[in-house]
């Protein structure tokens, strides 16, 4: 039965239900228990934002604190995965991938291919991304395109509590390494989530709004900003079709192409830095595979090619907003109308 819970609670519930079902699922990360070695109560934190809170009292040693040593513990999660465990490791901020990327892209991503199909690495790396938290340049990035670039990794970008739970359960059960990206501004978002266990498959985009005029392809938190823009545009008589990619690797190219064949106009909205991001990738695919359907140049709405600024004024300018998306839609709609 569905009831309203937050994105953060949905993630916690997915972890808890999978841990109850499968003893090989373990959880680790900085402060994931939260009181190790300190005088305070264990389970004080449950991760820096409390996402894993409550798991330690239920599952004991299967929830592990780590030193701040991302290379060692992300690598350990990967090594344990090749030895039959299903670890879910929390890389607190996606920005910290820089200190452990080798273990992810040279080790986990390549084992299966390099070892001739004999390795299985069912590891999930949960990580927090995105701007809007006034957290400045080293705690606000959207580095998911870097992971999407790497063959051997799967990249998951839930936008709602429902998807967060279903995609995380799928990630844990999946036999390949998965980078599970959680937008920090979505943690408090409420939505309908069934109590029972379910999965959301990878590579199946969600058409969150149907429309005949312009296709908007987006992902993660931007789905909500695009829906706001689409609502405003509908009042002006422009019908947008909004596609939530859900996963960037694998990517549901068919759903994008079908929509563009129908609308002939495409806006791609991506919170990641503008070069070699998901927007450029989707644009290239559409330009290559649906060129004849296009009735206007593709528009991309992204932040500028700068680090994420700290000051609230600057950060608000940096992150794509509904007004920018609406302008882009109006531009493609108005092109040779």
């Amino acid at each position: 039965m569905a009831r309203k819970i937050t994105y953060q609670q949905a993630i916690n519930e997915a972890l808890s239900q999978e841990m109850a079902r499968d003893p090989s699922v373990i959880v680790m990360g900085e402060d994931n228990v939260g009181g190790m070695g300190a005088d305070g109560e264990k389970d004080a934190w449950g991760g820096v934002l409390g996402v894993t809170k409550g798991l330690y009292p239920k599952y004991g040693d299967r929830v592990m604190d780590t030193p701040i040593t991302e290379s060692a513990f992300i690598g350990a999660a990967i090594g344990a995965a090749t030895c039959g465990m299903r670890p879910v490791a929390e890389l607190m901020f996606i920005d910290f991938m820089g200190v452990c990327f080798d273990q992810i892209y040279n080790q986990a991503a390549k084992f299966r291919y390099m070892f001739g199909g004999k390795a299985k690495t069912p590891v999930v790396i949960r990580t927090m991304y995105g701007a809007g938290f006034r957290a400045a340049a080293q705690h606000s990035q959207c580095l998911y395109p870097l992971f999407t670039h790497i063959p051997g990794l799967k990249v998951v970008m839930p936008s709602t509590p429902y998807d967060a739970k279903g995609l995380l359960i799928q990630s844990i059960r999946d036999n390949d390494p998965v980078i599970f990206c959680e937008h920090k501004l979505l943690y408090t978002l409420e939505g309908d989530v069934p109590e029972e266990i379910y999965t959301v498959p990878f590579g199946e985009a969600n058409v969150v709004r149907e429309g005949k005029d312009v296709t908007i392809v987006t992902l993660g938190r931007m789905v909500h900003i695009c829906m706001e823009a689409a609502g405003n545009l509908a009042k002006k008589g422009v019908q947008c079709e909004v596609i939530d990619l859900r996963t960037t690797s694998p990517m549901d190219v068919d759903t994008i192409l079908e929509s563009v064949e129908k609308t002939g106009r495409l806006v791609v909205v991506d919170e990641a830095s503008p070069r070699c991001n998901i927007a450029t990738d989707v644009s290239a695919i559409v330009a290559q595979k649906a060129f004849s359907a296009l009735r206007a140049p593709i528009e991309m709405v992204t932040p500028p090619h700068t680090p994420v600024p700290f000051s609230d004024v600057l950060e608000d300018l940096y992150v794509p907003n509904a007004a920018k998306i609406e302008s882009a839609v109006v531009a493609v709609k108005g092109y040779r109308e």
């Binding site: 690598g75 090749t82 199909g117 590579g203």
Partner: protein, 324 residues
């Protein structure tokens, strides 16, 4: 408590070391013909280390290796025919020709991979140790690391994590004196890498890595401790490689007779043979019989590798994911 190898163990150890040596000497010769693609890093001269450690390991135990990984593979029981074919990039190789010399892995044998990234193995071995702890199978996990890798952050972080998590891990630092062409006397900040163990709260021992018996004894104690839940150990094996960093390395950084002298005075196989025959533990004729077997085995592996088919175009796209 010391570890005395049985007669069967001695014969097994000699066969293991001889197999590694013969494998590497033959790859050295064959590489010069130009038929072997890519990079090859040979382990010849270091056999006592892989053997002295792996003699204590069973199928539950895991190892992670380095770019210089052939010896570790053989010592952990990876089959030489598959290895040779892999080095030739053949479909019959251990990894179907998709890994090559630097990525030979056989997870069924507990061999988690040679590794093209210096310091890539220790974090993975923390994970293998962690899995053994959860499975309560008394498994032990061993990371082989070079003197170059001993300076990597991944290695140092793993030493810390292994102690913090109290893991059944052993870090074997094979100090062969050179990280590529750079002397470890210059690149390592302390006199002996074994000293670093103390800073990470684990026992650190230094052994003569040319001496099978020294390695075997140190490894025996470390493995026993790990199996009993006593936590990690660092073992530094001081040893030498007989060839360059990679095949084709002119080794201008080494003294003119350095390797010749090592082969004459420090060779692990010669010293092993001398010791066991002098003590009348094994007959010279038994060792000679092993030599003959091993030469025939490597001859056969080489012939089959050369004759084997290469992967087909379809193999390019397979095994990126379990499912996608």
């Amino acid at each position: 408590m010391t570890t005395q190898p049985s007669r069967e163990d001695l014969l097994k150890a000699y066969r293991m070391m001889k197999t590694i040596r013969e494998f590497e000497e033959r790859v050295h010769i064959e590489f010069a013909t130009g038929e072997i693609p890519g990079f090859v890093h040979l382990y010849a001269g270091e056999e006592a280390s892989a053997t002295g450690i792996c003699m204590h390991l069973n199928d539950n135990d895991k190892i992670a290796s380095t770019h210089r990984g052939h010896g570790h593979c053989i010592a952990k029981g990876v089959e030489v025919h598959g290895m040779m074919a892999e080095i030739y990039g053949k479909k019959t190789g251990t990894c179907g020709g998709k890994g090559g010399s630097m990525h030979i892995a056989d997870l069924d044998m507990g061999m988690m991979g040679a590794n093209g990234i210096v310091g890539g193995g220790p974090p993975l071995i923390c994970g293998a140790g962690l899995a053994a702890k959860f499975k309560k199978n008394q498994g032990v996990a061993v990371a082989f690391v070079g003197d170059g890798g001993s300076n990597q952050g991944t290695t140092l972080e793993s030493l810390n994590l292994a102690t913090v998590w109290h893991l059944p891990c052993i870090f074997v630092i094979e100090n062969n004196g050179y990280a590529e062409a750079t002397s470890s006397k210059w690149s390592v900040s302390c006199k002996d890498i074994a000293e670093r163990a103390q800073g990470f709260g684990m026992p650190g021992v230094m052994v003569d890595g040319h001496d099978f018996f020294a390695v075997y004894e140190a490894a025996g104690e470390a493995v026993r401790r790990a199996r009993k839940g006593g936590g990690p150990t660092l073992i530094e094996c001081k040893l030498n490689r007989y060839y360059g960093h990679f095949e084709g390395d002119a080794q201008t950084y080494r003294g003119p007779d350095e390797v010749k002298k090592l082969r004459e005075t420090r060779d692990c196989l010669k010293n092993f043979a001398r010791k066991v025959t002098a003590a009348d533990l094994v007959k010279q004729s038994e060792l000679e019989a092993i030599d003959k077997d091993v030469v025939a085995l490597i001859d056969d592996a080489l012939a089959k590798a050369k004759a084997a088919p290469k992967p087909g175009p379809k193999d390019l796209l397979t095994d990126v994911y379990v499912s996608y």
